[in-house]
């Protein structure tokens, strides 16, 4: 069984690009829910799935704040679906996701289980323009970059003692539509 309390590439399939991205817990990652990819048949379909529980430094379990942020991101997407400003709301949800992750504090011990099996790609490719950045107190530096196809990725660079290994870069594709009129300074014009 895959350990979902670490960030990693799980259920990888060369034929499914969504599986190339990292997942975490019960909610973190594309097509990932309840510790599985939901393209598989569902056997317990009305299940209430909370954030994954991990031990804190005091030995008591807590809901992972990281996974809870991913879950809330999903709800924010549900709120946005079908509304006239859907793209803008989803953009804001993505920003809140990244800001939430960047705001997690290492001092609480909430992230202590996340030190293994890190997603450690080679780094943000040369030529991806940086659209905005989210410096946080979680020990890493987040930024939004756009690739040559216009797709926007959150790119997190690990700092010393951070969620990511120092120097490592994680990329998460964001469901953004670039060049929207109301997206502020992140807009690529």
């Amino acid at each position: 069984m895959a350990d979902s309390s670490v960030i990693g590439i799980k259920g990888f399939s060369i034929l499914d690009p969504s599986t190339w991205l990292p997942v975490f817990g019960n909610w973190g990652g594309p097509g990932w829910s309840g510790g599985q990819r939901t393209t598989e048949p569902l056997s317990d379909v009305l299940l209430n799935i909370g954030a994954i529980e991990i031990p804190g430094r005091d030995g008591q379990d807590r809901q992972s704040p990281l996974d809870a942020i991913f879950k809330v991101h999903d709800i924010n997407y549900s709120v946005a679906n079908g509304l006239p400003n859907e793209a803008s709301l989803k953009f804001q949800a993505d920003l809140q996701l990244m800001q939430g992750i960047a705001g997690l504090s290492l001092s609480t011990g909430d992230l202590t289980n996340l030190s293994n099996d890190m997603y450690d790609p080679s780094g943000a490719p040369t030529g991806w323009p940086r659209l905005s950045s989210f410096p946080g107190d979680g020990g890493f530096y987040g930024a939004a970059n756009q690739n040559t196809n216009g797709e926007i990725f959150a790119v997190m660079r690990g700092m010393e003692n951070s969620l990511l290994d120092a120097g490592a870069i994680a990329q998460v594709k964001l469901g953004l539509e670039p060049c929207m009129s109301d997206c502020g300074d992140i807009c690529h014009s």
Partner: protein
């Protein structure tokens, strides 16, 4: 009330909780309910032990006699949830037609969910005439004249979850009228619901999508305001979403009520625990033992002396459906596993259809 607006009420806590080895863990238990006598449990177990194709069965377990009984219900269905009436003389359950495991078949089956009612002895089995669509978690009112349940909408295939837009509906058994109890609030997900009085209930639900849309608010902001609470108190006919309750504790969910109106729920402060919120606002806390994974369903006995629960086996994921069952003695603060006998060792309770 915002949890940040007031200090935390007094709390008590049990340190270093222990949980004995659970021989029955690793099975697929769901939706636990307890008889008002505090001795008998009702729950669903899905298993292939009785038939190669598998099934989901409604089971009854006596805590003192340690005897397991299985209702012999119509075989063309999977039973998805079941609960005792407040007097214990009736059982209400949800069921879906047996289906293949591909998503189209599953969706088709859940669109045909039914709610069934019978006496606890297995007689007078009947189906409630309700609209199509996914339904789950039915519960009977204190006077036995109404059945409340969750109704949901199916999501597109390959969505994060199978269904959403949960709301509480209620059927009047005397008139056959079936209507929204309150809302619509379109919750992203749900857990328990239970009548508090003839006109009020306490429900576990999270992500009020309709409210968030109406107030142009994100779930992130809502969560910060209410400390991630997923516990509400509804009145029949309420069109406006009330503020969540039990916000003194972070992430309150899976509420259950005893006969005095005390609310028991799951949350964290700072570690994950079970809590009792008394009518006067006092909070009592029982820290969850490390051997237990996440609690998936729970119910307090009507006298409040015990909390029965199902839990994910540590190290497994929710969708793996590997569960155990246990109880907390609230007076002695003792946790213990419930060793449910195997399905093959269950006695049967014949079910008789209403003529």
């Amino acid at each position: 009330m915002s949890p940040t607006a007031s200090g935390q009420p007094p709390a008590s806590q049990t340190d270093a909780p222990q949980f004995e080895s659970d021989p029955a863990k690793g099975r697929d238990f769901r939706e636990i309910s307890v008889h008002p006598n505090g001795e008998e449990l009702l729950f669903v177990e899905c298993s292939r032990a009785l038939e190669p194709a598998g099934g989901c069965y409604v089971l009854r377990y006596h805590l003192t006699r340690k005897s397991l009984q299985r209702y012999v219900l119509p075989e063309q269905y999977f039973y998805t949830s079941a609960s005792f009436s407040p007097q214990g003389n009736y059982v209400v359950m949800s069921r879906v037609p047996r289906h293949d495991s591909d998503q189209e078949s599953v969706q088709h089956a859940y669109d045909k969910t039914e709610i069934a009612l019978m006496k606890s002895d297995g007689t007078e089995f009947g189906i409630l005439q309700l609209a199509k669509g996914p339904k789950v978690g039915p519960n009977i009112s204190l006077d036995g004249r109404r059945v409340a349940y969750w109704r949901a909408a199916l999501r597109k295939p390959a969505s994060r979850t199978f269904s959403n837009n949960f709301d509480v509906w209620e059927m009047n058994l005397s008139t056959g009228e079936d209507r929204l109890f309150a809302g619509p609030f379109l919750f992203y997900e749900r857990d328990g619901l239970q009548y508090l009085s003839q006109d009020e209930m306490v429900v576990g639900a999270y992500g009020p999508v309709a409210f968030l849309r109406q107030h142009a608010q994100s779930m992130t902001t809502y969560d910060k305001k209410y400390n991630r609470s997923g516990v509400y108190r509804f009145s029949r006919g309420a069109a406006l979403l009330p503020e969540p309750i039990c916000t003194e504790v972070e992430g309150a969910k899976i509420p259950s009520i005893d006969k005095d109106g005390n609310v028991y729920f799951y949350g964290q402060r700072p570690g994950i625990s079970l809590f009792k919120r008394s009518m006067d606002g006092h909070i009592k806390q029982w820290v969850k033992p490390q051997d237990i994974g996440g609690i998936s369903s729970m119910v307090a006995s009507s006298d409040g002396l015990s909390i029965l629960f199902t839990y994910h086996v540590r190290g497994t994921q929710p969708r793996e459906a590997k569960e155990g069952m246990g109880m907390l003695d609230t007076s002695a603060s003792g946790w213990k596993a419930i060793d449910i006998p195997s399905l093959e060792r269950s006695d049967t309770i014949p079910v008789m259809m209403t003529k």
